[in-house]
Symmetry: C2
Subunit: 505 residues, 2 copies
């Protein structure tokens, strides 16, 4: 194994999980001279044989400025390529029960989130990783056990059903919500850990493309919106795909799904709640997807610390699975890599033989970087986990409420009078990618959604604190507004009353 | 395996973990006709060879009415025997820094908690289990994997290093904080789970017996108290043992322990904070224990649900590890067994072939009993977990505060004017053991400690709600009292002022 290393002097990092976060982490370490082994338990998603098995899994996701800034900081060319293949979504399109549509832009300045094909992103990053001379990629390799004190992993090749042991200097666990690396770390780290399943589950449906006059496929809904059918205790959403189809997702409590087990009940439920979507999806396709696609749980996990000494760290879903309602899951995971890379650089970590701490016999620089990661990142991750949980209520319920729309108008108004208009996204990226960490304090009034989605220069924790302050100001202003309206109303009532009174008597 | 079953018609239960909770669960099922296999990963603690390895572990614990009522409901003779071997503790003895002692009784009616030898309790229950014709006990047997859908466990005999597979109808996980059964259940159950390490750690020390005038060993402190040296951010406690020694436990933040790594620093820390304890423990013994005994973490774990269908359930620390500050950890675990047994009886579960639910192909009665356990027990367990966490502040800090003593006096006064005096513990037990579940609503004013510790007829959740109401009344009364005192003080000041004023001028 060592013989194939490109630079024998460099240290070895193993990355577990070749999803977007794992690939980006491998690339970040390879750029810093580490010799990287990237292990993935599943087959290579780029092989045609894998595509069939992946079809039933979530296929698109929303990527926004934080994810893009992270990609940009490590793989600028790739970031630009992804943006070109993405479909920009400028706002939410609320589908009311009456069929009426309400477009709510995400940002005053027209900034967008991007609907992107998950496998396209993953495949692109895998291609980059495979092309790097410092990275070796292994598919169908599962971690069986980890000895972090001995710095070895036991890994099973599920193709040949053989087991091997591999040494490492740094182990990165990017192996998702049910992370093996996290579980193995818990044996040596006193890790606080929480996992919580929310009462809702989700199920994906395909909305086909239409045919235009020239016989070409066309979108059946506006492609530049994230479509939402909010129905208070459940909802349907739809994101556009490059092939002019939409991927729809139903989010509903398990008991709601339990009632829908016959074709008739499914169609009738859609006819009652989502009549326009039923029309575009089509009854046959709806029933087929609904009966065959899996109902998946939604889990929220929190951990702390994320690292062990100078040698192991968990990133992405392995460290923080969040509910998908802020579209920040992958963005936060990619941002993890950007922040880790920044801290490695700040602490002067290189692939050269380390400066050992004479007392503890471990690499002081690496240990400092990982320690700082846990210390600074935890607050941010808890903030976005909580914001994501909270946004579900907004998406399925609040967006239809008059009070919400009033606050949102006020919010946007305050934003427009206090903040200068920002430059367009594409010119912003190179600057964002070079941001220091921890991040700056924002100035002026900024809506919560704008800060979370379009401002990677503001940490999630700062966003949450700032949003709380702004929310209480909005509440106060709303009360003042209501009181003012009430007073005006009373004055008007009196006037009208007096007018009639004078006329009658 | 089936050939050795005492009654071939009866169904099989496997209990994992032969601690007090596991043993009691095995006995409860055996009494209901189940054929029980009890598996323990460690060697038999009754063997002389095991005793040495156990010496460094926690050796005594406080058992109170809930634990006793649970033992009584399943093994009445054993319960009485344990009580006779226990040392009653009537209250807390607060050791102030000045050396001054303050005895704070636990209960107006003189009810006590009991300091009991952990291994004595465990050995006694193991003897009972081994004597039961329906129970087979296996030591040095570890669960490797569980297939709950197939109702089989893979178990490794660590003595012969062989693996076997065993079938079950019901699997009970009583295998402690790091439960394998819980982890295996998480693969099939969407279990919410939290583990949290608190900032403090603990370390045990031995306080030797003294010698009286006749050369006989004697207690160096009052044996009928739980001794506490509260020092705000850390504390020392001591519980009496039958051999006239005390087992002391230091609870302190990890950073505090980190500073104490030389004999001098340990002695000087004790001299500053616990001068009287240093005197009774002795410098040599203190340093030896402090340097050699392990510093252990304190973990709090929460889970929900506790069961899977009609076939698996976790009890005791496997389901709820709590910090030890209410002395309720084992009591709650034993109560788990009493409540499960009550629910099994209420649902008519017997060892006879089950009544299968035609739709789901599982035993409806057993499934109902386990479902009801999760539904009713969860609220209680969360309540005691929170109360235990909160009591740490009371033990190490509040007990020394004037405001606490004022509230406590008021609390006891309200108790004495609203509640009749209760009968003595021993005559109460047979009644307590036959309590229905869920439990009754208490009447009159009852101090929190009394409800948690001496009233197994009141569920923990009811205790917590009632205590919250009482606490707000106490706060209101305290404010009225303070205001009254203030007014009286002002009146008195005025009087004195006027008196002098009149005399002088």
């Amino acid at each position: 194994m060592i013989a194939t290393d490109p630079a024998p002097v460099s240290r070895k990092a193993v990355v577990i999980g070749a999803g977007p976060v794992g690939c980006l982490a491998a690339l970040a370490l390879a750029k810093r001279g580490f010799s990287v082994e990237l292990y993935e338990g599943r087959p290579d998603i780029r092989l045609p044989s894998s595509k069939a098995t992946l079809q039933r899994r979530s296929i698109n996701l929303a990527i926004s400025h934080r994810g893009i800034a992270a990609l940009e900081s490590i793989e600028p060319a790739t970031a630009q390529r992804f943006l070109e293949s993405a479909i920009p979504m400028r706002g939410r399109m609320i589908h009311k029960l009456s069929g009426e549509l309400d477009s709510q832009p995400y940002d005053r300045d027209g900034q967008c989130i991007n609907s992107i094909d998950r496998s396209l992103l993953n495949e692109g990053l895998l291609d980059e990783a495979a092309a790097s001379p410092n990275i070796q990629v292994f598919f169908n390799h599962r971690v069986v056990a980890a000895d972090f004190d001995d710095k070895t992993l036991a890994i099973r090749d599920t193709t040949s059903n053989t087991e091997k042991s591999t040494m490492f200097d740094l182990c990165i666990g990017a192996d998702g919500s049910y992370s093996v690396i996290r579980r193995q770390m818990m044996r040596v780290v006193r890790m606080n850990y929480t996992q919580e399943y929310i009462r809702d589950e989700y199920l994906e449906l395909k909305m086909p493309a239409g045919i235009d006059r020239c016989g070409e496929p066309m979108f059946l809904l506006d492609p530049n919106h994230l479509h939402i059918w909010p129905r208070h205790s459940f909802m349907l959403i739809a994101l556009p795909n490059k092939d002019k189809t939409f991927t729809c997702t139903v989010f509903a409590p398990a008991e709601e799904f339990d009632r829908l087990h016959t074709p008739d009940s499914i169609i009738s439920w859609f006819r009652t709640n989502f009549p326009d979507a039923l029309h575009t999806i089509g009854e046959k396709s709806l029933v087929e997807d609904f009966m065959n696609n899996p109902r998946s749980p939604l889990i929220c996990t929190k951990a702390n610390p994320y690292h062990y000494k100078d040698r192991a760290i968990i990133l992405g879903d392995a460290a923080h699975s969040m509910v998908p309602f802020y579209g920040q899951g992958l963005n936060a995971g990619l941002e993890d890599v950007r922040i880790l890379a920044t801290l490695l650089d700040e602490e002067g970590v290189t692939s050269m033989p380390p400066i050992y701490d004479p007392q503890n016999h471990y690499d002081r620089r690496l240990s400092n970087a990982l320690q700082r990661y846990t210390e600074t990142r935890h607050e941010d991750l808890i903030a976005i986990l909580d914001l994501a949980m909270h946004n579900y209520v907004e998406m399925r319920h609040s967006v239809t409420q008059l009070s919400y729309l009033f606050r949102k108008t006020l919010d946007t108004f305050l934003y427009s009078i206090t903040s200068p208009r920002v430059v367009a996204l594409t010119s912003l990226i190179p600057i964002l990618a070079k941001l220091p960490y921890p991040t700056i304090k924002p100035r002026g009034w900024l809506p919560l959604y704008t800060m979370v989605t379009f401002r990677p220069d503001i940490s999630y924790a700062t966003v949450q604190k700032r949003a709380a302050t702004q929310a209480s100001i909005l509440t106060a202003l709303s009360w003042i507004g209501v009181t003012g309206l009430g007073a005006a109303g009373a004055w008007l009532t009196r006037k009208i009353f007096l007018y009639y009174f004078e006329r009658r008597w």
